[in-house]
């Protein structure tokens, strides 16, 4: 059984069909890329998956459960986490607080323990602190735990956003253009990081990307989206030589 199955998913904004008849299947442990020219509907697809938008038609089955009508926080609690194309950190909070907020949904104490600082408050906070520090260590951000998130360099902000998403302990991680604005070296490091976290956290990853070297380098299968429709799918090599894809990216050949 696939971890995620998207069937005939469509989303219209008034007369505009941003996504139409989308069919995607992702098995556990896979690393899948979703590519396409600007405005192809990639981010819309992500927003549909995470409950930011509700689909007009079609089905999203995650672990065989229908996700229709779920709020974003519900989707996250079911085990799907995401990052954003334009970084959305809690930028005035410290690095560690960013991660702790992700752990909130699994926090162990209630508000009355918080009001009265009962022992469960201290136990819960200590556990969160420990888990958050462990995660930051993995991302090599532990020495910056107390820094304000917006003061981090760009690449580290991207890393922190991935760390924060992992704090929700997801099964499926959605990365929306993780390499946007990175230089080749940073992109290369990111590729290794993505591969590594997949092993380490036993994740399934779906990523949207513009950077072809990254997509071709890490993804096992690729879906190509254009005008809201899947125009091609397959292994990176097949995609590279697919005339439809070339056409979508470079335009039709003039005969």
């Amino acid at each position: 059984m696939p971890l995620l199955r998207i069937e005939k998913l469509s989303k219209s904004f008034g007369g505009l069909k941003a996504v139409s008849n989308l069919n995607i299947e992702i098995n556990e442990g896979e690393l899948i890329g979703l590519i396409g020219p600007n405005g192809a509907g990639k981010t819309t697809a992500f927003n549909l998956l995470t409950g930011v938008y509700e689909q007009t038609e079609g089905k999203i089955l995650f672990q065989d459960k229908d996700m229709r009508g779920l709020k974003p926080y519900h989707v996250t609690q079911r085990g799907m986490a995401r990052t954003f194309q334009n970084i959305r950190l809690f930028s005035d909070l410290s690095v560690i607080d960013n991660v702790k907020i992700a752990y909130h949904q699994r926090s162990s104490y209630g508000i009355f323990s918080a009001f009265l600082r009962l022992p469960s408050y201290y136990a819960g906070e200590e556990e969160m602190q420990r888990k958050a520090m462990e995660l930051l260590k993995i991302f090599n951000l532990d020495h910056k735990a107390e820094e304000i998130a917006k003061n981090l360099p760009y690449g580290e902000q991207r890393r922190l956003e991935i760390a924060r998403a992992l704090g929700t302990e997801p099964k499926l991680l959605l990365l929306d253009e993780p390499a946007a604005g990175m230089n080749p070296q940073e992109t290369h490091d990111l590729m290794n990081l993505i591969r590594w976290i997949r092993e380490k956290f036993k994740l399934t990853i779906l990523l949207i990307e513009h950077d072809m070297s990254l997509v071709m380098g890490v993804c096992e299968r690729i879906y190509v989206l254009d005008y809201g429709m899947i125009i091609a799918q397959g292994a990176p090599d097949e995609i590279k030589s697919n005339p439809k894809v070339i056409e979508a990216y470079l335009g039709e050949e003039v005969v």
């Binding site: 996250t76 959305r88 909130h104 949904q105 918080a114 819960g124 998403a165």
Partner: protein
């Protein structure tokens, strides 16, 4: 984290005890002018109001300006329990706070779907509706007011204030408080991080209303009489000014704001026509030189006193 009691909290506790003892001592020796005593109790009331409003406006980022409405509900409810049912003071205060919290919850459900200006207008409207309801209720004296015996002493007001501030602080520095802060920082990201943003907005609103109701109850049982006019939107603005003056999101800022504003308006009580002018000038100067308030979102801390236990700083700020 390991150390639960650090030097800083010991020093803070000693400071609190000292303030209490000095005032209580001068009351017992009968050397405190009644006007000063009144101002001090008002400071306590306004500290509860400003810190609880800060929880809604500064911490959770939901701009509410209906705090006087919750204060009125707490005041009238506490007064009804005391006057009509001869209930004990503690019960009256608790009833006022709980009914106010319930009102906060019920009002929060529909209005917290609104954002920014719209929420401000809705809460402003709520405050005025509450006032007009009491104005037309003969059961509680209508426009002429509702007489309540004075039972609140400095001890009551001071310790209720301390307990309120501690509870609000404990909430803010918990995972639930962080959930509220994440809504202020970036609501979409908070949602995607698994935080039920509606639940936490309503929670902050309800807790804020609870303490506003408590402050109202203290007020009613101190001032002999409560009138609907006291709880007009101008009162809401007074509280808002304290929060903004101290710094949205800073608890110690709200305390400072409440102290400064209450003392300034008490000092100007001889020239009531100048009070609003001076307040306005104070705010304008403030917005020019310190647009984020006296303390910004920072907390005033005695950390320079502490050597150990400073790990706690991670959960602050």
């Amino acid at each position: 984290m390991g150390k639960r009691i650090n030097r800083q909290s010991v020093v803070t506790l000693l400071g609190v005890l000292l303030v209490y003892a000095i005032v209580q001592g001068s009351i017992l020796m009968d050397i405190l002018p009644p006007f000063v005593a009144l101002t001090l109790i008002q400071v306590c009331i306004f500290i509860i109001l400003s810190t609880s409003l800060n929880l809604i406006n500064g911490i959770t980022g939901q701009f509410s300006i209906g705090h006087a409405g919750f204060m009125a509900i707490g005041a009238y409810m506490a007064a009804i329990v005391v006057v009509k049912f001869q209930g004990p003071l503690m019960l009256a205060l608790l009833a006022g706070a709980l009914v106010s919290a319930l009102a906060g919850f019920l009002i929060g459900l529909p209005t917290l779907r609104l954002k920014g200006d719209y929420l401000a207008i809705a809460t402003l409207g709520f405050g005025e509706i509450v006032r007009i309801i009491f104005l037309n209720m003969e059961y509680v004296g209508g426009a002429s007011g509702f007489s309540v015996p004075k039972t609140i002493t400095w001890t009551w007001a001071f310790w209720l204030m301390v307990i309120s501030v501690i509870i609000i602080r404990n909430f803010i520095y918990s995972t639930h408080g962080r959930a509220c802060i994440s809504i202020r920082e970036n609501e979409i990201a908070a949602d995607v991080m698994g935080i039920n943003t509606t639940k936490y907005k309503i929670m902050a609103f309800t807790i804020g209303a609870f303490f506003a109701g408590l402050a109202g109850g203290i007020y009613a049982n101190y001032l002999y009489i409560i009138q609907p006019l006291t709880f007009s939107f101008l009162k809401s603005f007074d509280i808002l000014v304290m929060v903004v003056l101290g710094g949205l999101g800073s608890l110690t800022g709200s305390i400072l704001g409440a102290v400064v504003m209450t003392v300034v308006s008490a000092a100007l009580s001889g020239w009531p026509e100048w009070r609003l002018v001076i307040t306005a000038i104070l705010l304008i100067v403030m917005m020019i030189f310190r647009p984020k308030g006296l303390l910004g979102t920072k907390e005033f801390s005695l950390s320079f006193l502490g050597k150990k236990g400073e790990k706690n700083a991670s959960s602050k700020d």
